[in-house]
Amino acid sequence: MSPSDLLILPFEDWINAFVRGFLVPNFRPLFRALQVPVNEVLQGFDAFFAWVPMLAVTAAFALLAWRVVGRGMAIVTIVGFCFIDMIELWPETMTTLAMIITSVLFCTVIGVPIGILVARSDRAWKLTRPILDIMQTVPSFVYLVPIVMLFGVGMAPGIIATIIFALPPIIRMTNLGIRNVRGDLIEAAEAFGATPTQTLLEVQVPLAMRTIMAGLNQTLMLAMSMVVIAALIGAGGLGLVVNTGLGRLNVGQATAGGVGIVILAIVLDRITQGFAEPGKGQKTGLIAALKSFVSGQTVEPASQTYSDKTA
C-alpha cells in the first residue's frame, strides 16, 4: 500500500507539455537571441587565443602569476603550460580557456549588478536567496535537460549551462562584500553629500572588491567543473577530449584531458585568489606591475608606519 496506488500524477507529461507545448514554440526566438551575445564573445576569445602564439600566452600568464601570487606560481605556470603543449592539447586548452573566460565574463556582468541590487534591499535579498540556494543544490547534470530543450546543443548552450551553474557565488559574494562595508564609511560619504550612486562607486564597490574577487574565484572554479559536463551537450575543448577518451575507453586520452583541466584550473584559481587576498593585487595595480616588470624594479606598496612623534 502506497500513495501511488491511489493516485498517479502525470508529472512527466505536465513538464513535457509546459516545455514543448508552451516554452519552446512561444519563446524559441528569444532563446535563440540569447545565444547570440554568448556566441559572439566566445568566438572572439576563441579566435584570439588561437591566434596568439603559445609562448606569448604562457609568458603573459606567468607574468600575472608572478605579480599576483609569487615566483613559485610563475614557474608552475610555465612548466604546466609547456607540459600541456607537449602532450599536444594546447588548442583544446585554449578553447576551454575561451569558454571559461566567456562564462565568467557573463557571470560577472550579470552577477555583480544583481549582487549590488540585493545588497541594497533586504526584501530583494530575501527573494533572491532561496533561488540561489536551489541553483546550488540542483546537480549540474540536471541543468542540461532544460538547456538542451530550449537552446539545443552546441558550444553556446554549453556555455549558457555553465553561466547559470556558476552564477550564484558571485551574486552572494558581491552582496556580502557590499553589506560588509563599514557603516561609518557610508555615513561619511553621505555626510559629505555623496549621492547613492557616488557612494556605491566611490566607496562600496571599491571596498567590496576583495570579496567580489573571492566570489569571482568561486564562480571560475564552478565554471571549470562544468567543462566536462558541458562537453556532453556539444561544447568542445578539454571536456570533449575527456569525454571521447571515456567513450572509447581510452584511459590515456581521458587522463591527458583531465590533467590539462587540472593545470588550467590551478593556474586560474591561484591567480584569481591572489586578487582576492589582502595585501596583494589591489595597491599594486596590473599596470604598475607590468611597468615594474619592464623596468626591472619591484613596486611594493609602501608600508612604513609613522609614530605620533613624527607628526
Binding site: D184, E187, A188, A189, E190, A191, G193, P206, T305, D308
Partner: protein, 428 residues
C-alpha cells in the same frame, strides 16, 4: 551675533512604528519606562538649542545619552521623529534629498569618532572627497586638499594611505576633510575619543589654535567633562536624550542645575575652568600722577595696603604700598614711589596659569588683552575657588568682597568693572 543653527523641539524615537512612544514621551514618561513597557528607545527627548556663528558648542553626556543620534540629526543622517533643524533658511529635518545633499556639500561637514577615512583612497583623496562629490576638477581638488592638510600640518603626507598614519594623524586627516569644503558648520562626534590621552591633549590644543583662526561654528560631542570645559564656549549636558543644563563652563561648574550635573562637576579641575577675570575683584587704581597723600586717602577708603597704578590710558604701570606712601613726602607723585615689578596676569589666563604670579604673596593685577587694568586678585583667595563646593565657587559675590567696599566713593577713577571685562570675553 548671527545664529547659524537652530534646533527646535527635536525628538527621535527608535522602533516607534505606531507612534505610541511619542505620546508616552509627551505624557512625561521616562526613557527606561517607555523602553520597558513598549520596547521603544528614546534617542532624543525634545531638545532645543541655538548655536551662534564662530562658537564651539559642546554636547556632553555619558555613553547612550543620545549625543551621536542628536549630532546625526543635524546633518540629516538621522531623520528626527519630530522637530525642526534650521540651517540658513532650510529645515534639514524636512527638506528633500537633493537640497539636503547641497547643504552637506557646502554648509555642514562631520568628523567621526573612528575617523571613518576611506582606506582605499590616499590622504589627499580622502580630504578632497567632499569636493569630488561636488564635481570639482582634479587639480582644484588637489590644491584644496593640500591647503586643508597644511592647516593640520600634514601636507607632506598627502600621498600616504590612511593606514600608514597614527591615530592622531588620521584624525587630523578627518579634520582636514571636514575643512576642505570650507563649510560653515563642523560637526565633531567624539573626535578625540579614540585617541591616547597625550595625543588627545595635543589635538585639543591644536583645535583651539585652529579655531582662533578659522572661527567655524562647531558642534563638538564628548563624554569627557574636562574636554567639554576646555573647548566649549557653551556646553550642553545631556542625559537620557534630553538637555539637563546649557551654559558656559563657569556657569556649569559654579551653578550645576541638578544633582546629576553636580556629581559630574564634583571632581573637575577647577583651575582649568575659571579664568583670572572670573575671580578678579574690582579694585581702586591710582593714576600715575596722583600725589602720595591723595593716594593714601584712596587706600584708606578702600581699606587696602597696596594699590595698582595706571597711566593715562589705564594701562597697568606698577603698584604702591601704604608703607612707601607714608614714608614719602605728601606731594611726591606715585610715579616716583611705585614698584614697577608687579605680578600680573591676563584676564584670559586660567587659575592654573597664575601660580607663579601668586608666589610673591602680593595682590595680582589682572589686565585685559590690551594691557588695561581690570582688577586684582588676592593670592589667598585663589584657593577658595579651587574648592569644589558651590559656596566657595561663589566667593566672588560673597565673603571675600567684604574686604573691599563694593562702591568706593573716591573721586579718583575707580577700578573698571570686572563684570564688564567678563562680558567682553567672547560668547559669554
Amino acid at each position: 551675533m548671527t545664529i547659524k543653527l537652530k534646533v527646535e523641539n527635536v525628538s527621535k524615537l527608535f522602533n516607534d512604528k505606531r507612534g505610541e512612544g511619542l505620546s508616552l514621551l509627551k505624557q512625561g514618561r521616562a526613557k527606561d519606562e517607555i523602553f520597558r513597557d513598549i520596547g521603544v528607545t528614546v534617542g532624543i527627548d525634545n531638545v532645543s538649542f541655538e548655536v551662534n556663528e564662530g562658537e564651539i558648542f559642546v554636547i556632553m553626556g555619558l555613553s547612550g545619552s543620545g549625543k551621536s543620534t542628536l549630532v546625526r540629526t543635524l546633518n540629516g543622517l538621522i531623520k528626527p521623529t519630530m522637530g525642526k533643524i534650521m540651517i540658513g533658511g532650510d529645515d534639514v529635518a524636512s527638506c528633500d534629498a537633493k537640497r539636503l545633499r547641497e547643504i552637506r556639500r557646502r554648509e555642514i561637514t562631520m568628523v567621526f569618532q573612528h575617523f571613518a577615512l576611506f582606506p582605499h583612497k590616499t590622504v589627499a583623496e580622502n580630504v578632497a572627497f567632499g569636493l569630488r562629490v561636488r564635481g570639482l576638477g582634479k587639480d582644484e581638488r588637489r590644491q584644496a586638499a593640500i591647503e586643508a592638510l597644511a592647516r593640520v600640518g600634514l601636507q607632506d603626507h598627502a600621498d600616504s594611505m590612511p593606514d600608514q598614519l597614527s591615530g592622531g594623524m588620521q584624525q587630523r586627516v578627518g579634520l582636514a576633510r571636514g575643512l576642505a569644503t570650507d563649510p560653515e558648520i563642523l560637526l565633531m562626534d567624539e573626535p578625540f575619543g579614540a585617541l591616547d590621552p597625550l595625543i588627545r591633549r595635543e589635538m585639543q590644543d591644536e583645535l583651539i589654535v585652529l579655531q582662533k583662526e578659522l572661527k567655524k561654528t562647531i558642534i563638538f560631542i564628548t563624554h569627557d567633562l574636562n574636554e567639554a570645559l576646555l573647548l566649549g564656549d557653551r556646553i550642553a549636558i545631556m542625559k537620557d536624550g534630553a538637555f539637563v543644563q546649557v551654559g558656559t563652563a563657569q556657569d556649569i561648574v559654579s551653578h550645576p542645575a541638578d544633582d546629576y550635573v553636580r556629581a559630574f562637576v564634583a571632581d573637575v579641575d577647577r583651575s582649568r575652568v575659571f579664568t583670572a577675570s572670573d575671580i578678579a575683584k574690582d579694585a581702586d587704581h591710582i593714576p600715575v600722577h596722583t600725589k602720595a597723600i591723595r593716594a593714601l586717602a584712596v587706600m584708606d577708603k578702600a581699606g587696602v595696603d597696596l594699590a595698582h597704578v595706571v597711566d593715562a590710558k589705564e594701562m597697568l604701570v606698577g603698584a604702591v604700598t601704604r608703607e612707601t606712601l607714608e614714608a614719602a613726602k605728601p606731594d611726591t607723585p606715585v610715579a616716583d614711589l611705585m614698584d614697577t615689578d608687579v605680578p600680573s596676569v591676563s584676564g584670559e589666563s586660567y587659575i592654573n596659569e597664575m601660580y607663579t604670579a601668586a608666589q610673591s604673596g602680593a595682590p595680582i593685577a589682572v589686565t585685559d588683552e590690551d594691557g588695561k587694568f581690570v582688577g586684582s586678585i588676592e593670592p589667598a583667595s585663589i584657593f577658595g575657588h579651587l574648592a569644589s563646593d558651590e559656596s566657595a565657587g561663589d566667593d566672588e559675590d560673597g565673603t571675600a568682597d567684604d574686604a573691599l567696599p563694593p562702591q568706593p566713593a573716591a573721586p579718583e577713577p575707580l577700578g573698571s568693572d570686572v563684570r564688564d571685562a567678563k562680558q567682553e570675553r567672547p560668547n559669554q
